[in-house]
Subunit: 721 residues, 2 copies
């Protein structure tokens, strides 16, 4: 183990200086961290394990950095991908401390995490674990703060190096081939590469031994793991330490050698050791670029205590009385871009694809809800739920905007009208420009605006007339009307929830029938002058005949009674309400605050319903259900009726009506039998739906009964909501 081929002049022995590792963090790492923060860590500040990647230096111009990429956090999954053009990188294990606020970052106790890492390294040295797995010597720590509102990331790395009791010195430093001669150097390199090639571990060990035969040179040069140290000492020859050296400098080794030499001094008792700093050129270890260092090591007392066992220094009354090595001093905080001790910050906002940024930002608020207040929130489910909005006026716009706020990603707007000049101040998806030249089609303009608000939404707009009972259809029009019916049915089928947001009562009839038939969630919303009703329709009628027969309020046995639809309170069929309307009846004469309130409540009702274990079969919550609603989001009422004049909200519920002209089994059955006949007769024959559902018979009975009672109850006019 003597320095046999020393070329150093006597007295040239200097303090060995190591080039610090440098971190390089890929933006994909930050994206992954942001994602984990939102999805997994949330408010937790518990450290988590990282993989950093590094290679030997591959260019005399630059050192190899320690790199973090998107896979650095994915520890239960993929192996790290090889660096381009090179073999499998070496892994350094790190601990990530991600804190919640910038203030926490600024006041972070970095000495604590450094002490923890150095303690672990020291334990691994003393226990022999680091011999078996030298990667343990390259532990690093990083603490971070991810400002996800701005996509700025604050961070500070440390590569802990335990400081020995006295400096390590170099008796000699030079290139490997200068130190050993070209042949021997080539043989050392060859042996190292063979050993590494034969290594079956997922990741190669970053340090190893090379044995040079002694006087009997017949033996071959071999490479072997650090654990062979003791055995190799028995053999005639020289044992050289080798490690993967990320440093590019011609007269300094890289940072990883520090802890490795400490291991040699502490574990093996070495006072002098020859080291190969293995570096690469063109994908192979290179004897000219690699260094040979003859290191002179201080004595490291075996009694150096693990930090945990040692009393903290401030409690020691007389520092001079404590042995010099008692506290394992540690170095390694990385300097920042200005070369000073301090954290770094990377601002990814400006470099990200804006659409991508928007998508992540939009999800942010929703995911944040899961951290504290609403862990049950299923944002993926909302994003996948397809919503059909029938009507793109005041209510349609309000509903679409709230859906976007909740992260719904599939929104289809339907309307038959064009944007008029009075619309934009109340219909929040339109602007003045949309009104010019006769006005753009509303559905199309609304869908386009949804995309302008958030490019990640799948929004479509469709101009469609919805056939209405009581609105006569001539034989010539029948073909066109039935095409509209077919298209509406397609649309209902393609979506999960159907919002009825039109300005007439009767236009809600066909969608109500279709929702009942196709078992889609129906949400209905209607405005008066200063009051609103927001309701969900009862669940649809499944296609098994039994269900149809039983699909009325009273029938279900196991679950709650099926709830009513918008028409279930009516005892007459819907008629044409648009004929002969005066101007104030044609325009939406409602207090302007009504539509945003009702639209928002309609969406909140859907979101709450979607989180209810029974979905649209959930029983109607009432104000007295407050104690423990089954949905994590709160009450799932049947109907919410409110007034801005009285500033109240009532929760009302009612079962499905046996003779309902829209959702009753008779109507749905007739749709299934002959949809064209149903629609045409409903449009053209005022009494048809009442006959079909048995309302006519009921009226006759009631009339007979009333005759006995006189006409006291004549004034039963009801508002349209």
């Amino acid at each position: 183990m003597a320095s046999t081929t020393s070329t150093t002049a006597p007295g040239a022995e200097g303090v060995l200086q190591f080039q610090p590792l440098q971190s390089t963090v890929d933006s994909t790492f930050w994206m992954e961290l942001a994602n984990n923060k939102l999805e997994k860590y949330r408010l937790s500040e518990e450290p988590c394990t990282l993989q950093g990647y590094y290679t030997p230096a591959r260019s005399s111009a630059v050192s190899a950095p320690l790199q973090l990429t998107s896979t650095s956090l994915a520890l239960d999954g993929d192996a790290p991908s090889a660096a381009p053009g090179g073999p499998q990188p070496y892994i350094a294990w790190g601990s990530l401390y991600n804190v919640n606020t910038l203030d926490r970052f600024k006041s972070f106790d970095r000495e604590r995490i450094m002490a923890k890492a150095s303690e672990e390294i020291w334990c691994d040295i003393r226990s022999g674990a680091a011999c078996a797995n030298p990667a343990l010597l390259n532990r690093f720590v990083v603490y971070t703060f991810a400002d996800l509102k701005r996509y700025s990331f604050y961070y500070w790395f440390a590569f802990p190096a335990l400081v020995p009791p006295a400096p390590m010195r170099a008796a000699q430093i030079g290139s490997l081939d200068a130190a050993l001669g070209a042949d021997l150097a080539a043989a050392v390199v060859q042996a190292s590469e063979s050993w590494r090639g034969a290594c079956t571990d997922a990741t190669p060990a970053p340090a190893w031994l090379v044995w040079l035969p002694g006087t009997n040179r017949s033996s071959e040069i071999t490479a072997s793991p650090l654990t062979d140290w003791a055995a190799l000492q028995e053999r005639d020859g020289e044992v050289i330490l080798a490690f993967c050296d990320p440093c590019n400098l011609p007269s300094n080794p890289g940072w990883p050698l520090r802890n490795l030499l400490l291991l040699a001094a502490a574990q093996w008792g070495s006072r002098a050791v020859r080291v190969v700093c293995a570096r690469e050129k063109a994908g192979r270890l290179d004897p000219t670029f690699s260094l040979m260092v003859d290191a002179v090591l201080p004595e490291v007392p075996a009694a150096w205590p693990a930090a945990a066992d040692h009393p903290p220094s401030q409690e020691v009354e007389d520092p001079a009385a404590v042995p010099a090595m008692a506290v394992p001093k540690t170095l390694g905080w990385e300097v920042n871009a200005r070369g000073r001790m301090g954290p770094r910050c990377v601002d990814l906002g400006p470099t990200m694809d804006p659409t991508q940024l928007a998508t992540q930002a939009v999800d942010l608020n929703l995911k944040l809800m899961r951290w504290r207040v609403l862990p049950e929130l299923n944002t993926e489910m909302l994003a996948a739920t397809k919503c059909l909005l029938l009507g793109s006026g005041t209510l349609g716009c309000a509903v679409a905007r709230t859906l976007q706020g909740w992260g719904f990603r599939h929104i289809t707007m339907v309307d038959n009208g064009k944007v008029s000049y009075s619309n934009p101040v109340r219909q929040s998806l339109f602007e003045f420009e949309d009104c010019k030249n006769g006005g753009r089609p509303k559905a199309e303009a609304a869908a386009e605006r949804l995309k302008a608000i958030f490019p990640g939404v799948k929004a479509a707009g469709e101009q469609l007339h919805i056939p209405m009972p009581g609105h006569n259809v001539s034989p010539q029009e029948e073909g066109a009307v039935m095409r509209d019916v077919a298209r509406l049915e397609e649309l209902v089928l393609e979506h999960d929830a159907v919002f009825m947001l039109m300005d007439t009562r009767e236009s809600r009839w066909l969608p109500t029938v279709l929702c009942a038939h196709h078992e889609k969630i129906g949400i209905n919303c209607a405005l008066g002058f200063d009051g609103y009703v927001v309701m969900r329709h009862g669940h649809g009628l499944s296609k098994s005949t039994d269900d149809v027969a039983e699909g009325v309020g009273e029938a279900s046995c196991s679950s709650a009674p099926r709830l009513g639809c918008y028409f279930c309170n009516d005892v007459v069929a819907p008629i044409d309400s648009t004929r002969d309307r005066t101007l104030d009846q044609q325009c939406t004469v409602t207090r302007p605050g009504l539509a945003p309130i009702a639209g928002a409540l309609a969406v909140e009702l859907l979101v709450t319903l979607l989180h209810h274990p029974q979905g649209d079969k959930a029983a109607a919550d009432t104000a007295s259900s407050e104690a423990s609603p089954e949905s994590p989001l709160g009450l799932v009422p049947h109907q919410i009726r409110g007034s801005i004049a009285h500033l109240n909200q009532l929760l009302i519920h009612g079962p499905a009506f046996k003779q309902c002209t829209a959702c009753s089994p008779q109507v749905v059955q007739e749709w299934r039998t002959d949809s064209q006949r149903l629609v045409m007769r409903a449009c053209n024959e005022p009494k048809y739906l009442e006959d079909l559902t048995g309302l006519t018979a009921m009226h006759t009975e009631v009339d007979s009964a009333m005759e006995a009672w006189g006409d006291e109850d004549e004034n039963s006019d009801e508002d349209d909501f």
Copy 2:
């Protein structure tokens, strides 16, 4: 009265044919009608009086039309303006029947209005009123339907002409100078113009008499009113009838002559009369263009009954038994553009200035409210009320949009931030484009969007930082902070209502102080995760010292106790709540439906308050005030607290707190004494506001009291709303 200068060949006597009048309706008339419909008529279909304007024919190429302009409806105001280049026009009086629906228009009983007009004309002839005021002969009727959603106007004019028992015939028709010779014709013209020039009536009579001296030609030709007919008969000479003739044809008189000749036949018993059809060239009556007609009139029985006295024809059993003149048959419905009998329609939408169209359309919905449901609505007052919105985030956007819906026209947005990618889906005035390149300043982007929605709004955006108690201000920053304070005070002064819509509690402190000091309406709005509070601050403290001293809950004697502000429930001064916030605390983690609901309620609260007779001094309504709220718009509570999870709304009220750190007299007085000292100490000295208001003293007392009670009440953490 014999036809002395007849040049007609015998037997050439033909039926006299009259050119119908044509209507021309200025678009300003339709605008005025639209305005009247909204402001005055509303749902009324009562007829109203119109002025139509016409002139003599002024070109041989075209007839002069009957014109309606914006002044046609303004009967209590301006005299009609003269047609360009001509003298005062003649007036025809009309009746306007504006109906409420297109169906009513289509089925309008036009025979009825025609019969009514002809009856009036006949009465005026028989009574002599038409002699005194010949304009009464030119009565017309028009019935209209104004489709104000589309700016389409449907209309049909009639110029009633009573049909005599037998046709009127022309013994002779020719130009005036051909009939009389140039000199005499010139003299007739001269006399007519002199008479007209001397006429002191507001509008000239459209018919007059010209007296030609008989055998003794020494007398001068004179013109005089129709009432001179009998007197002129006594004199030697010839009496000629003259009228303003809008017709341009060389051998036909215009429509106004029909009723005039009927008057001559019925009132004066004339069987033949010479008529000057007075027409103009170059601004003067022209003898070549004007016609002379020798008319032969049928006998008109004096017994021709007024229509009102006559039984309707259908009740007559044998029509042949009724005298021919019994039913005054009337002609005069105008043909439409296609030359058919039928109404006309003008669509002004495409030709109007879009900004003007938008302004009228936006007002439409509001004005419609006054027709039926809310006659007390004062839209002008709302348009004039200036609103300052502090905060342009989720709440700021929601409030601004609802303000626009209510017709507020002055909206100033204030914010200190920039639009970030997560904003547009929840902040309804922003789009994706606003987020790029670091984001546009929010206030500016919001104001611009308000104008894009409705160009008629006066919207401004201002980037301003609002100094906050507990947020330290260094001596170097003091100048800038005080400039912000001064600017905020200016803004508060310039507005009538101040909305506090920020995302921190303490940023509402200074605006609360300023509202109390300047007696501005303060509306406060704050969101939790699924709950909201919307409140109005108590009225401000007037600058008289008394008021300041008494401006607390208990003190007022005459009116209700002054209500509290946002800080009146606090027993500690506001502190910096932004330090060390985690990501979910920095972002608005609220259910997306919350902001539209709370924003809408905040605006509705302001609108209701503004309509309350006591304004911001109105006592707080509670749910039990429901019976008869003093505001026509409903309850004016102090605070509305609601939850989307529980779907309830509570009306809460509380008086101003004597020791309030924001609205109490001590604080307002200190502002008035030294605003800089107040702000700087509030920012830099945590206990200052508590000392100032006496809270510190109160705490000391309470602490002493608590010691006796133990610490049972420790967990008094309260949510931030």
